[in-house]
Amino acid sequence: MEGQYSEKVMEHFRNPRNVGEIPDASGIGNVGNPVCGDIMRLYIKVDQNEVITDAKFKTFGCGAAIATSSMVTELVKGKTVQEALTISNRAVAEALGGLPKIKMHCSVLAEEALRSAIDDYMAKKKKA
């Protein structure tokens, strides 16, 4: 329920990191949460060494959705694409000091947006 967010969640909700867009993004992930209808868009910038150098997001969603979006952008920066693929929604939630049970599904949004951004990047790379 509302109000049961950890300090860390509230901190990220209050000051979300990396809000915005990357105009020349290497990959864009666009996902909707089937449980609640919330939406997240994640932009990643990948360099020639397959390292994610930048990540930005836009999210329409609850407090947990915004905090997990913010956290996932923090977690992927500096990781290789392969490493980023191993980041699970649980890992994002844990990095935030946990989420209330009914809000766990919100963290799935972040994981899926990341997957989708990486898929988009891979598809673009193949074409190029």
């Binding site: 509302e2 979300p16 809000v19 209808g37 919330d38 939406i39 329409f60 609850c62 915004i66």
Partner: protein, 390 residues
């Protein structure tokens, strides 16, 4: 930090006068109202006095028509189940609306499991129930129509006078959940010709866990609580004397102040809404433009989700909600807004501001100062916003 509480449809702050009236009954006047000695008689007298005040607020013809309960939820349960069980031989069909409080909807669902048939009539875009549909739906087996007087989420005031007339013409009992209306708008069960009406203490600056059910004389109703002969044999259990006294005091004050206070609140409510419309684009008013509770304004902020707005306002000391406090643990969109045909994407960003006697124009100004930057910040974060912006 400044604190502005605008969640008064969820609950209100108890008035000093109410607390003062209650305290002696937690200390020196502790008798059981059923006892014949003086200790008991003092408690009995206090209950009688409170019953008179509640009867006065509701416009009951006689004090015996008021039964004290543990709140709006119990009153709703008692009315619906009690009438359904008492009239089982006559029929098994109940009509209610699609925008009722959970206390009605879930009681109806419970009865459906017992074999009753329930029809939920629809509402228009402003949340007004369809009376033509009501007329069409009343059948031989219909035993009860229950329609709320005013909706808790959007504040729309229902045409219960006409609804009651339609039900009574067909010889069907009429119940109204008046929990949000009582004390805010005039209510008179006698002239409205209502059989059953629910009210609650904590929405009118009274105690929580305290309410009443109006039961018109000769109405058939099966008690839901078996035990002693309390409450004219309709609701067993040693009376919560302090709570009853508090409810009585709250009722007395509400009746006295209703007319002035409802005018003042309507002014504040409209001042707030006008201020929001002039400062923030892409918003909508949820609920009827005028047939609405004086203290309630529900605003939909397009491209946004409600919880993030609530949390941001909370950080600034402003307490609001997305609708019903009872549904905040759920992820479903509001059943009230959905029934009103609001686009699912737009039900999410709806915020209910519900005012009280403690709120001032300064409070509204504070909201109007704090809200626009929050909405802007969240919209800048929303992937839906740019589409709407063009």
């Amino acid at each position: 930090m400044k604190k502005v509480y605008l969640d008064n449809n969820a609950t209100t702050k108890m008035r000093e006068e109410v607390l003062d009236a209650m305290l002696p009954f937690y200390k020196d006047i502790y008798g059981n109202a059923s006892s014949i000695h003086e200790f008991g008689r003092l408690a009995r007298r206090a209950i009688d006095d409170a019953r008179e005040k509640v009867a006065g607020l509701l416009g009951a013809a006689s004090v015996e028509e008021i039964v004290f309960t543990s709140g709006g939820t119990e009153s709703d349960n008692f009315a619906i189940k009690g009438a359904a069980h008492a009239l089982k031989a006559k029929g098994d069909h109940i009509i209610t609306s699609s925008i009722e409080h959970q206390a009605i909807l879930n009681t109806c669902k419970f009865l459906e499991k017992e074999g009753y048939k329930v029809t939920y009539i629809s509402v228009d875009k402003d949340g007004i129930v369809d009376l033509e549909e009501l007329k069409r739906l009343i059948a031989d087996k219909t035993i009860l129509v229950s329609i709320m007087y005013a909706n808790n989420e959007v504040g729309t005031i229902e045409p219960i006078e006409e609804a009651a007339r339609i039900a009574k013409e067909k010889g069907v009992y009429f119940h109204t959940d008046a929990v949000q209306a009582v004390g805010k708008i005039p209510f008179d069960v006698k002239s409205l010709n209502i059989d059953l009406a629910s009210m609650s203490g904590h929405k009118i600056y009274g105690p929580k866990g305290m309410g009443a059910l109006y039961i018109k004389k000769l109405t058939k109703i099966t008690p839901q609580m078996q035990g002693g002969h309390h409450e004219m044999g309709k609701r067993a259990g040693t009376e919560n004397v302090a709570g009853i006294v508090g409810l009585g005091k709250a009722a007395e004050l509400a009746k006295k102040e209703l007319s002035d206070e409802s005018k003042r609140l309507t002014g504040l409510r409209d001042y707030l809404y006008k201020g929001i419309t002039s400062r923030i684009e892409s918003i909508r008013l949820n609920g009827h433009p005028d047939k609405r509770l004086p203290n309630t304004v529900n605003v939909g902020f397009k491209y946004l989700e409600g919880e993030s707005i609530i949390l941001n306002l909370d950080m600034e000391g402003i307490a609001v909600s997305t609708g019903s406090a009872c549904t905040s643990g759920s992820l479903e969109p509001s059943h009230v807004l959905t029934a009103m045909g609001v686009d699912p994407a737009e039900t999410q960003g709806s915020i209910r501001f519900s005012l009280s006697r403690d709120n001032t124009k300064e409070d509204m100004d504070y909201v109007l100062e704090v809200l626009p930057p929050i909405i802007k910040r969240l919209r800048d974060m929303s992937p839906l916003y740019e589409k709407g912006k063009k």
